[in-house]
Each structure stands twice: as structure tokens, then as C-alpha cells.
Amino acid sequence: MGRKILLVEDDRETASYLAKGLAQEGHSVEQATNGQDGLFRATGGSFDLIILDRMLPVLDGLSVLRALRAAHIETPVLILSALASVGDRIEGLECGSDDYLVKPFSFAELNARVNALLRRREARVDPADHRLTVGDLEIDPLSRTVRRSGKKLDLKPREYLLLEYFARNEGRVVTRTMLLEQVWDYHFDPGTNVIDVHVSRLRRKLEEGFEKPLLHTVRGAGYMLAA
């Protein structure tokens, strides 16, 4: 389960807090405190994920990222940044990062994104049966049909996308901002509980008439689909 993660972060306090947290999750973490060192380590070792601070001494995060992508190193990169505007986020993603997390963030948020990125890598490596199953729930991404215990569920297109994203991250916490970014492709912070309303509608359709809950609320973090 444990993966190799490279953490490039110049702020010692943040770095040690994140390294400790990730180690507790079972990952092995290698650290670099400036961009040049980070680029050197990233090109040298084989990592499953690189967590890259955007503002780094010597060589900034986006330059490191561009250099990595230019060298065809396709390791997933999660950018951390205090640059919070929508334009900054888009710029970070356009540079070839796989995710962009704005500081300050909770460790739960970071962990959820790390797991999603690692999971995506797994899926990429192993394209198994195209059907997704979570307990008695069966999802067919080709026909976009969903059955629970053989009974077809009637989902709206967006509800289907939401469920598919949950299913691809089965057993892992998914945060509200991850949903907004991945399912809707929006990078702003809505001032209302608009995401929660969608999730609770989906939950109603998934669980109505069934005893066993599938879509769980994880307090202080987000949601999780698990049998």
C-alpha cells in the first residue's frame, strides 16, 4: 500500500507536518527544500507522486514541473500554492500538473487528493474489466448504466459522472472541492452547500429501498463510496 512520494517544500514546518502525516498513511517520503534539488531527485528516483510547492527558492515549482514534463517524466504532480486566484490555478494545471491545492489546506484534503492521484496511476497501469463494482452496485462506463442488486437506477448525466468519480475512488475520501474540480471542472469556491445537495440527491437514489448505505459522509473531510 505504501508508495514513494517526493515532497518539494521549502517551508520546514509545513514540510515536516506533511511528511509526518504521509508517513502515518504508510507512504515513504523523500524531501527536497529547493527547486533544483527537487528536480534532481525527481529525475533520479522513480516516484509514484511528486508534491511540489509552487514558490520555491533557486528554481520555482512551475519551472520544475515544465522541466519534468519536457524530460517526459510523467509522474503525477500535485502543486501546493498560496497563489489562490482562479487564474493561478488554471496556470498551474496548464503547466502539466495533475492537481492544484491552495494553501492553507487541511491534511485530510491533501490526503484525499494524494490517494486519488495514486489510484489514477494504478488504474492507468492496470486497465482491467471496464465495469466498476462497489458491493452490489454495478456501473458500466460504456453504456453509462448503473444497477444496484440488478435493479437499474435512473440517474441524471451529472449524477452519473458524480457516481463514476466516487466509484473510481472507492473506499477513499473525496472532498467537496475535488468533486467541484473533477466532476464539474470548476476551480472556484462556491459560497453555498451546492455540492452537498447533489451528493445527497445521489445518495437518495442509490440507497432508497436498500438497507445498506453506500455513500458515506466523512466528517470534516468529505464523502466516501464504500460497500
Binding site: I90, P190, V197, R201
Partner: protein, 453 residues
Amino acid sequence: MPTTLRIALLAGLLALLSNLAVIGFIYVRTHDEAVASLHRQVTEQSQVLTDVYRTGGKAALDKAIGDTLDYADTQTAVALIAADGRQIEGNLAQAPAVQSMQVGYHNAVIRLRGQPSPHQAQIVFSRLSGGEWLVSGRLVGEGLAFRATLERSLLLSLVVAGLLGLLCGVVLAHYVSRRIGNIAAVANRISARDLSQRVPLSGAGDSFDRLGLQINAMLDRISALMEELRLLTDSLAHDLRSPATRLRAAAHAAAESSDPAEQEELLGSVVRNADALIRILTTVLEISRSEALTGRKQFAWFDAGELAAELAEMYDPLADERGASLKFDRPGRPVPLFGHRQLLAQAVSNLLENAIRYGSDGGEIDVRVSPGEKQIRIEVADRGPGIPLDRRTEALRRFGRLDSSRSDEGAGLGLALVQSIAHLHDGELQLADNEPGLLTAIKLPVHPPQEAR
């Protein structure tokens, strides 16, 4: 004041030079005239006398010279000189030596009979067929005298012109420096932190008034911006205070509490208030980014109808939950728009959230996208209480929350952000009456800002 002096001297010098040019012209012309007319007279006289000799012979010429001398003025010089150098007839005091005479027009110095001293003269020597010499000419004394007078008066007028020019220069410099001095004085007082000063206008509508008007307009704009900035800083400080205070209180209480359940509850409140702080800061940042027009390089073409449809679908369940129905009629054709998709999505979502927050009681929220010739309108209309006409400007201002006692999470930045995003697109946000309710419209030009393309 060296500048005034410089202007005065420059004006004086210019007046002097232009007068010099005019006077020089007059001088040269008059001089040439005088010389030409003398030359004509002398040639004519000599011509007439040689003609008389040719037709009437020596006797007729003798008589003609006599007549000429009888009627001539004192400038006339005429003489018939025999081949041996003797003066047969004429008024020369002494005949010139025969060997020194050459046929043609000459400048010479001669003395007339009865005159005390020799004079400059223009003379024509002609050799007659009988071997005699005809000397005919005029003294140039008169011309010289005239030239001297002319030179004196021209010189005098030059001095007068120079002095007048200098005087004009002083007056002009004084006028200019007084007008500029007014502006400079205002600038000085403004530097000393009194932005209320304005440049006084003469009312003449001249260039100085136009300059003053422009400076005053600039000052008005600066004052408005400074006032806005001051208000913004005040509001930001004020609005950050409440969540910061709540956060501190919750953190403090959590530290004091020994009950784990209560502690968890309080720490949740800490996180919520911290999030509220972060949201305010992020929004303020987003607004200033948009107002500074950064982000135009991320503009791209997309379908505004599709965007609105997506957002309407996104907010439909929320509206439904709050007891309102959200309606959107997607235009039959795509509405191509060149802009920042993410920021416009945020703008429309802000309008939708506002409509749901304040207008849900009305029961109906309408979303419309209307493509026009020159602009695209994205409208969100609710049936809530609306915003009275006189408070709409206030509503668009940052932190311009209409009811300051309202304690919901909207920090009064929503509409300000929408407006700044509209500005980024060279568009605007319009608030209107939905009769009843509020109609908000983002108006965007079909043709995108030039520098974004």
C-alpha cells in the same frame, strides 16, 4: 525666475530677428533702387548728348551742353573736351587727363566748377567722331546722403523693435508663468496631502484651461480611487474582525474545555471561521486581479449557453431545496463568447447564489442568455425583495452589503466580484428591477478586448 527670463529673452530675440529681416529687406531694396535710378539718369543724359552731336555736329552739342548747364541741378556734371585735353565747354573745375579716359561707365572722383572739394560721381566717357571727348555724369552725394538717413532711421527702428520685443517677452512670460504658477501651486498643495485642491480656470477656454480641466479630472479620479481604497481597507479590516474574533473565542473555549464532544464542536467552529477568513481574502484577491485585467491571456472561445445550462443544472437542486424553481431556456443556437470560462462561471454562480439566498421566497428564478448584435447578456432574475434604485451602486461596491446586521456568510463581495469579472471582459454588471425582484445582467461585448486576442 530663470524660465521667465528665458522666455522674455527668447521673445525679444525673435522680435529683433524678424525686424532685422524686414528692415534689411527695405534697406537693400531702397539702395538698389537709388543706384539703378542714378545709373539710368547718367546713361540717358549721355545718350541724349551723343545723339545731339550725331545729328547736329559740334555746334549743336555745344549749345545742348550750354542748355543743360543752364537748367541742370548742382549734381549734374557735363563737359566737352578737345582731343588735346582742353575743356571746350562744361562745368568741370579741371578736365581729366586725356590718356586716363576710357570709353564707358565709370566711378570717378571729380570737382565741379565753383565747388570747394571733389566728389564721388558716376560718369560716362564717350569718344566723339571728331576726336573730342564727351564727359557726362552725376555726383552721387545726394544718394549718399539719402542712404545715411535711411541707415540711421533703420538702425533706430531696429533698436525700438528689439526693446518692444523684449517688453512683449516680459509680458508674455509673466502671463504664462502666472497661469502655470496656478497649476504648480495646486500641485504643491496636493503634494502636501490636500487632495481637495483644484486648478482655478480662467473661463477663457484656452489651452491652459483645458490643461487645468484635465488635471482636475485626473484629481477627481484619484480622489475617488483613494476614497474607494480607504473604504475598502476599512471594510476589509472590519469584515475580517468578526470571523477572527469568533475564531479566537472558539479556539480559546476549546483549550479551556475538558469535554471531548464540546471540544470537537468548538474546533469545527475554528475551522469554519478560518475558512470564512480565507474565502474573504481569496475573493478580495480575485477582485483586484480582475480589475488589474490579469487573466486575459487565459481567454478562450466557449458557448455561453452551454455554460449557463451547466450552472443552472448545478444550482437547480439547491434552489429546489430552498423552495424556488430555477428556469433556463437554452438558446437554440450556440452563443460563442471569447472570455475567461472559469471566472465567468464563478460570476454566474455568484448571481445564482445571490438569487437563491435572497430571492427564493419569490418562488421563481430565471436564467437567460441573450445573444445580441453587439453584446451578450447573461441574466439571472429572481422574485425576491430586490434592491431599491438608490442602493444599487452601494450593492456593487466591495463589502457593500445592504443590511450590515445580516449575519450570513455572504461578505458582501459577491456582486463586486461579478462586476470586476465583467470589467475584465470590458463588460458590466447591471442591476435592474424585475418587477418584483432583482434582475442582474452581465453584459459582455461580442468583440473581445483587443489585447486579449
